[in-house]
Each structure stands twice: as structure tokens, then as C-alpha cells.
């Protein structure tokens, strides 16, 4: 039997030394779960992860921000509703909307926080089947021009884990039509819609493409031996999620396509 490494070797990409100078902030709220995984994904992609605390009043000198998954403030009231008003969020909202267009990625609960913040349109409600669902999910990258998808090809299919209960993306028809027309549907579920999301939408971006949110978890698919291909063999590779992080790092250091 082949022995798997206890901790995956950080060999997924041959990182350019320049990338280590790029600082990606990872925000932790009370109830955040996936901040360590997100920070690890940043490091595996070659960058430097900077822990940020929700009550901080300044962003520091980070070049991009990841808002990870979990259950901020227990998801009381609504998913992301209380986190949206954390002191650090107002800094992130300003920086994302500024001319500098700070790249911001919201994953799962982070996506919910971004919609509550009005950085992204629409909202998430309970899955149409009412159950928590955890599975490896195939996504199609519909837009490879956002800050977080430059290292993918448009139309490329990737497999990353998905785990949520409030993952049904909804918006009114006018907003959905505008998102489609402007190429702001960044990811779509392929083969199976796991939560009833309108038009199979898994992730979207803002108009400028620096803010991206999605329900599935790319940060859980960054290491050989610990990703979807190794665990249930539905296809894809173990490291399909790594491109999110290499995309933004390459953009920051000026090496993006």
C-alpha cells in the first residue's frame, strides 16, 4: 500500500520566490472554521498568509483578502448578517470599492458575508432540500478574467468540496440577467445542482472582477493526497482549488496573463 504523507508536501506548484512577497489577509470572525485551511492554501500557492481579526480597525499592507467559511456569529439572525458589520469589514468594503480594487475572495460563509455587505448582489437561503450537504462538486469556470480565476481556462471544469446548509443562491430575474450579460457568473454547478441555486450559479463577481464569492471550497482542494480525486475518485485532481490562490498571487506580482 502506498503510504500517504501525514501532511501533504508543499510541492503542488513550483512557486516563484517573488510570490512570497505577496501578502494575503485571511479574516477570522468568531465562529470562522476554515481560516487555517485558507491560510495554508495561500502558503501552498507560494504566498504569505496574514491573519486578520474581525475586530481589527486596519487592514495593514495586505495585497488581497480571503473571507473564509464557517459560521460567523453562529449564523444567528442570517448567515453573514452580523459579521458584515464587524469593524474590519468596513475597511474591506472601502478597499474593494477603491481605485486600487483590492482583490477579495469570499468562500461559503464568506460569500454570504459579501452579499450581506452588498459587495455582491443576491443572497443565499436554505438549501431547497433543507439538508446540510457535503460532497465533492464539479464546477465550470465561466469567467477566467477575475482576479481569482486568471490561472484557469474559461469553460474548464474543476472539482472541489462543497459543504453548506444555506447555499441556495437567489436574486431577482433582472439581477440574474445582468450577471449573465456582464459575464459575472464566475462558476456554475455541473451535473448536479446541490442546493437549488438559480441558474446553477455557484459563484459570482462584482463588475470590476476583483471581488469573487462562491459557496464551494477551493481551499480544501490544494494538496495531493487530500483532495476529491484521492477521496472518492469522482474525477478532477486533488489540487483543482489551488488556481484561485496562484491567480491572485500572480496578479499581485504582475505575472498574470
Amino acid at each position: 500500500m502506498t503510504e500517504l504523507p501525514l501532511i501533504g508536501e508543499a510541492i503542488a506548484v513550483a512557486a516563484h520566490p517573488q510570490l512570497a512577497g505577496a501578502k494575503i489577509g485571511v479574516v477570522t470572525f468568531p465562529g470562522t472554521l476554515d481560516d487555517r485551511d485558507a491560510a495554508r492554501a495561500v502558503r501552498l500557492a507560494g504566498g504569505t498568509a496574514v491573519p486578520l481579526w474581525h475586530a481589527d480597525s486596519a487592514l495593514g499592507d495586505v495585497d488581497a483578502v480571503v473571507i473564509p467559511g464557517g459560521f460567523s456569529y453562529g449564523d444567528y439572525l442570517r448567515a453573514g448578517a452580523i459579521a458584515r458589520f464587524a469593524p474590519l469589514m468596513s475597511k474591506i468594503i472601502d478597499a474593494a470599492n477603491s481605485d486600487a480594487k483590492l482583490p477579495v475572495l469570499g468562500i461559503c460563509n464568506g460569500f454570504q458575508i459579501l452579499t450581506e455587505s452588498h459587495l455582491l448582489p443576491g443572497s443565499m437561503i436554505k438549501n431547497d432540500h433543507l439538508k446540510f450537504m457535503c460532497r465533492d462538486q464539479v464546477l465550470r469556470v465561466e469567467n477566467s478574467n477575475t482576479a481569482w480565476t486568471l490561472d484557469y481556462e474559461a469553460g474548464q471544469e474543476i472539482t472541489v468540496p462543497l459543504k453548506n446548509q444555506d447555499g441556495q443562491y437567489i436574486a431577482d430575474e433582472k439581477v440574474l440577467d445582468a450577471l449573465e450579460a456582464e459575464g459575472r457568473v464566475v462558476f456554475r454547478y455541473v451535473g448536479f445542482n446541490p442546493n437549488g441555486s438559480r441558474r446553477d450559479i455557484a459563484g459570482i463577481s462584482n463588475a470590476a472582477g476583483n471581488v469573487v464569492g462562491l459557496m464551494p471550497h477551493p481551499e480544501h482542494a490544494v494538496e495531493a493526497g487530500f483532495g476529491p480525486a484521492s477521496l472518492d475518485g469522482i474525477g478532477g485532481s486533488d489540487t483543482d482549488g489551488l488556481g484561485f490562490f496562484t491567480s491572485v498571487l500572480n496578479k499581485i506580482v504582475g505575472g498574470a496573463k
Binding site: L77, R78, A81, I82, F85, T115, E116, P121, G122, S123, I125, K126, N127, D128, L130, Q168, I170, A171, D172
Partner: protein, 83 residues
């Protein structure tokens, strides 16, 4: 102490998955008269002292900004209830 009650409901055009689950359970208990259920939220905001127009305006503002998400929910009622 007076309280301000805020009622929030899912927008009518949005299918309410929780209500759907409840309406499925009712007939199993013999409650067969109900064809549909929608589940909302009730908030009770306690005020120390008198509820002035200014405080009521604050409650309405809080209802629109924090207590509800206008993309998916409507504030259907804001009223003062004397203890």
C-alpha cells in the same frame, strides 16, 4: 418596560424552504386544514423608558439594515407593545 416588536417575513415571491418542511409535517399530526405555511421572525426590542418617535425611527432603521435582508425579506410590522 415597553417593547418594540419587529416582524420580518420572507418575500412572497421567494419559496420558503422552512415553511415547506412545516406544511409537510402538519398532516402527519392530523392538522389537515392548512395548505401552506410561511415562517418568519419576530424581534422584541426592549426600551428603558418611553418610546419616542426618535426611538421608533431607530427601530425602523435597524429593521431595514440589520434585522432583515431586503433581497429576501420584508419588514411587515413595527409596533410598540406596552409591558
Amino acid at each position: 418596560m415597553p417593547r418594540i416588536v419587529v416582524d420580518v417575513m420572507p418575500k412572497p415571491e421567494i419559496l420558503d424552504p422552512q415553511g415547506k418542511a412545516i406544511v409537510g409535517a402538519l398532516p402527519r399530526l392530523g392538522f389537515t386544514a392548512f395548505s401552506s405555511v410561511r415562517q418568519g421572525k419576530r424581534f422584541e426590542l426592549t426600551v428603558d423608558g418611553e418610546v419616542t418617535e426618535e426611538i421608533l425611527a431607530q427601530a425602523r432603521n435597524a429593521a431595514e439594515t440589520l434585522l432583515s435582508n431586503p433581497v429576501i425579506e420584508d419588514v411587515v410590522n413595527v409596533e410598540v407593545v406596552e409591558a
